[in-house]
């Protein structure tokens, strides 16, 4: 961990939350979160009743498992994953600050979600390269 601490935050947190809100506004998307690899939720847009802490812990552990799976098994870097249950899909992508996770219902347009996630990851990469 190196780098320099600037005097005040530059509003990245707001950018991240706005980004997440855009994705969650897609039809069929129930919610989403950005969680650091240590399990801390950086931004959440989850529906009431969804257990934020438990979902964050599971999302970070799932993201790490995906990250570790590639190099350990000589499969290269993990790019994206989607897990489909009987009533919907969870999308997971890796980002500079952790994992972007989207929870979508079965009738959500998977291609639209994936397209938005790719855009969001690019935006996060640019923001964190500044």
């Amino acid at each position: 961990m190196t780098g320099s601490a600037s005097a005040e935050p530059v509003g990245r947190g707001q950018e991240v939350r706005a980004l997440l809100r855009e994705i969650v506004a897609l039809p069929g998307v129930r919610g989403g979160l950005i969680v650091a690899a240590d399990g801390l939720a950086i931004a959440t847009e989850l529906p009431p009743g969804m257990p934020v802490e438990a979902v964050s812990a599971l999302a970070a552990t799932l993201g790490r498992e995906l990250e570790l799976r590639g190099p350990r098994l000589r499969r290269g870097t993990f790019l994206a994953a989607q897990f489909t249950g009987t009533a919907g899909t969870v999308f997971v992508v890796s980002s500079p600050i952790g994992f972007l996770v989207v929870v979508a219902e079965a009738d959500a347009h998977a291609d639209a979600v994936r397209y938005s996630l790719r855009g969001a990851i690019e935006m996060l990469r640019r923001a964190w390269a500044r």
Partner: protein, 270 residues
Amino acid sequence: MIGDGMVLGDILKAVTLKAVHGGRRPPTTVEIFRRASRYRDEGRFEEAGVLVARGLQLDPDSVVGHMLAGSLHAALREMVPARAAFQQVLAVDALHPRALLGLARIALEEGDATGSAGLLRRALARYPEFPEAQALLEVVETGGPVVDRPAEAHGLRAERLRIPGECRELLVLHPDATLLLAQPRGARTEETGARTARLCRLASAMLTRSGLGTLHHAVVEGAAETTVIRTDADLVVSLTLGHEVETGVALGHAERLWSQCHQELAREAG
């Protein structure tokens, strides 16, 4: 932070001198850690790390400081110093729930389910309503030991399944990671099977907690290849293919193999 002492030291000296010459009161460690925590919450891990290093220079025994350091190292995927920081916390407070959770997650990543479960139970002994620990313990406890038996014992034979020619790897296992068939089988097959089973358990828990049912199928895109998984309560079929195969086609292969495996196992049992 660890290993960057010289660079970090120079930065900290400059910051301290500026504060002194500016005539302002130097910030207290509480203020430093509070700001670091705010940076961490915004995903500004490296800036937070600089502040935590500064705070720990002023108060080397701070539980808050070591806890923040562990969390930041983990966020930056630096698991060796993360573990050291969490252990520093436990040296002061042996049942610190978040330090125990941090160590449990590292143990889980390393495949040490027993160690992870022990740490999570210790955290829950202090704080029974700890949702993160409860969620992870559920996942850890559903995973059984890996019991490898030859494929013949299960009636599954690769030659009886129509494995697609583009297949780079096929794994068939029970959700507890008991391997039924691996094609090809290599030095890392057992580990691949265990990791695949753990991935399915985590994904299923994530789906269930999100109100989306249990895991039915998955697509994991890597830089070099794609893995598709079809699963239910009894069987996990994992098929790895190159990017030249479309995802829909790959899922079709996985579905057919899953169905064939069930038929073969039912025939054997009958």
